[in-house]
């Protein structure tokens, strides 16, 4: 019975969304419910993490059917860590949205859809079943469609056609893989599948399924060469929405890749590692090079999401315990940092009246606080010590040197340098150079809740850097669970309703 805490991160956003939609059209009520729900989710996620950390993998069978027939929810360390960081950025974005989302969007149900999105994300992290993962993906996608299309006016409406099409295509790839896998192996429960795929010949026969899943999750995660929907759509959404997307959506794809290619198709046994390494390098390089040519704050940041996904993919591709742990560390660091950069880009737009770098300037003197808020996540993203991004890159590169993947190390270091170049470009243009001639758009003052949310995430980034050792040891335990899933398998297959 005490294991039912596993359900809490799914129930809380669901109930919050329902409660929010009862007060449809009442902006203040929506804000209160929205932030309270995000806070409750954080409490539940931390409680779940503590339980999993102390006692090991937790699993329950919803609906009283034993595995592999029932609906399985599992929380191992990776899931629990992802839930905690999801709840942290969820709370920050909810607080930010209370002042930055206009009343019309609030009345149109921003917060209920926001929580449905969190519901889909949390469900995807907790499910122990491939088909349910598909269902959670769809929950998340449908909410993201609405948030994207409704928030940003005409441009967001037209660009969301790209987003919707590519994501639906990825879903169909996923569903096709599910169908073929069920036909071949006769199960969809992850733990059950892991056992059945270990029989001789099963992995070779299922390689087409592995490739389909790679393409499906690759589109969602924004891997080379299927990331083009991402920079086309994110910069057109509202700031709070794009921050939430930037932090969470692609990382659900990365989580699915990590889960499937450790539990079902371990890279060391399928021979896909060289392909993964090549995709990782191409993703890192193409993202950062495309960003270098942009002159619009959120377009630069969107291309950097792509290049950062490459680092996580590199950790997964190397598939050693150290590399996997650094990939997990990287995901956690990246979610916090990237969300914050998008929040700060909203503050920059507000303070400067636009997002085109050519039109911004002079914040360094006029808005020193804003400069600090930008500098912390930007330097962390580029990998400056002592911030979290430095340790993420350090661990990853050390893991790559251990297995002598020198090409990947060279690409990773080069991309790190170019990331610093991009961040310096925003810094020089928006903060350092003198303000350009007036261009019509009036700068507006910043509001407390928005600044507070961004500052809180900056504190988390610094804390992750200073407390890197603790997080690193948890990441290593999580990687250990992934590489030796015996605890996971036993807990799922033996847990009774």
């Amino acid at each position: 019975m005490s294991d039912s805490i596993v359900v809490a991160p799914i129930l809380i956003p669901l109930l919050t969304a329902i409660a929010g939609s009862l007060g449809w059209g009442r902006a203040r009520f929506q804000c209160t419910i929205g932030v309270a729900g995000a806070l409750a989710l954080l409490v539940a996620a931390v409680a779940l993490f503590v339980r999993v950390h102390d006692t090991g993998v937790l699993a329950i069978q919803v609906g009283n059917w034993p595995a592999p027939y029932g609906i399985t929810l599992v929380a191992d360390l990776l899931s629990a860590l992802m839930l905690v960081v999801t709840a942290v950025v969820g709370l920050a974005v909810a607080a930010y949205a209370t002042t930055e989302i206009d009343d019309r969007s609030l009345a149109a149900g921003f917060f209920p859809f926001f929580h449905v999105l969190l519901l889909g994300v949390c469900g995807a992290f907790l499910t122990g079943d491939l088909f349910n993962l598909y269902v959670w993906f769809e929950v998340m996608l449908l909410a993201s469609f609405v948030l994207l299309a409704s928030g940003g006016g005409r441009r967001a409406l037209t660009s969301s056609v790209t987003y919707v099409t590519l994501n639906l295509l990825a879903s169909v790839f996923f569903l096709t893989a599910v169908g073929v896998l069920y036909g071949e192996v006769g199960s969809l429960n992850l733990a059950d599948l892991a056992g059945k795929l270990r029989t001789p010949g099963a992995l070779e026969a299922s390689r087409p399924v592995a490739m389909l899943l790679l393409v499906a999750f690759g589109i969602k995660a924004g891997l080379f060469p299927v990331f083009f929907w991402l920079p086309a759509s994110y910069p057109t959404a509202g700031f709070a929405v794009s921050a939430l997307f930037a932090g969470l959506l692609t990382k659900v794809g990365v989580y699915a890749l990590i889960r499937v290619f450790t539990l079902l198709f371990p890279l060391s046994e399928t021979g896909l590692a060289p392909l993964f390494l090549a995709v990782a390098a191409a993703t890192m390089a193409s993202g950062v090079l495309a960003a270098a040519s942009q002159g619009h704050v959120r377009r630069i940041l969107s291309f950097h999401i792509v290049s950062q996904i490459g680092y996580m993919m590199m950790g997964l591709a190397l598939a050693t315990p150290l590399a996997l742990a650094s990939a997990i560390f990287y995901v956690l660091h990246h979610i916090v940092t990237k969300t914050n950069l998008f929040l700060v880009s909203g503050l920059i737009e507000r303070a400067g009246g636009g997002e085109e770098l050519a039109r911004l300037g002079g914040f360094g003197a006029r808005r020193a606080g804003l400069a600090v808020l930008f500098a912390i996540p930007a330097l962390s993203l580029a990998g400056m010590p002592p911030l979290s991004g430095f340790f993420a890159k350090l661990f990853l590169i050390r893991a790559a040197l251990d297995v002598e993947a020198f090409v990947s190390v060279a690409v990773a270091l080069g991309v790190g340098l170019l990331t610093l170049f991009s961040m310096t470009k925003i810094w020089n243009q928006a903060f350092w150079k003198p303000a350009p001639e007036a261009h019509g758009a009036q700068p507006r003052s910043l509001r407390g809740a928005a600044v507070g949310a961004s500052a809180a995430l900056a504190v988390v980034t610094v804390a992750l850097g200073l407390g890197a050792e603790a997080l690193w040891s948890v990441s290593q335990s999580a990687a250990q669970q992934l590489l030796d899933p015996s605890d996971y398998l036993r807990t799922v297959l033996e847990s009774r309703p």
Partner: protein
């Protein structure tokens, strides 16, 4: 029988991908609608095709009769159909709004942000 269904799946996938690539907003939406049907048909065929043996549990037995069809793919398809229906309903409304905002059926202006 399986061969016929497999060919049908292939044809549905091919037609819907062709529609997606035509560069027209409405054909894109039609392609998306058709594509999910292809996937559903594939799951149906993947679960194994058995004629005339529904998965009924005889009185006093604990499981369905031997040789009967696997009911799980049908449950999966039912779920997938419901999801696809909801998503399609949204995509149609979005297509309608985006078509009004963009003012053309040609997909070229819908690319969003360009670098």
């Amino acid at each position: 029988m399986t061969v016929v269904i497999a060919c049908a799946v292939g044809v549905v996938y091919a037609v819907s991908l062709l529609l997606l690539l035509r560069g027209s907003l409405w054909q894109l939406l039609l392609g998306l609608a058709l594509l999910s049907h292809g996937a559903n048909l594939l799951i149906f065929a993947g679960g194994g095709l058995v004629l005339g043996s529904p998965p009924l549990v005889a009185e006093g037995a604990v499981g369905p009769m031997a040789g009967s069809v696997d009911p799980l793919p049908q449950a999966l398809i039912l779920t997938a159909i419901v999801i696809a229906f909801a998503v399609l309903a949204f995509a149609l409304v979005l297509g309608l709004c985006a078509g009004e905002a963009g003012g053309t059926d040609d997909l070229e202006p819908y690319g969003g942000e360009r670098g």
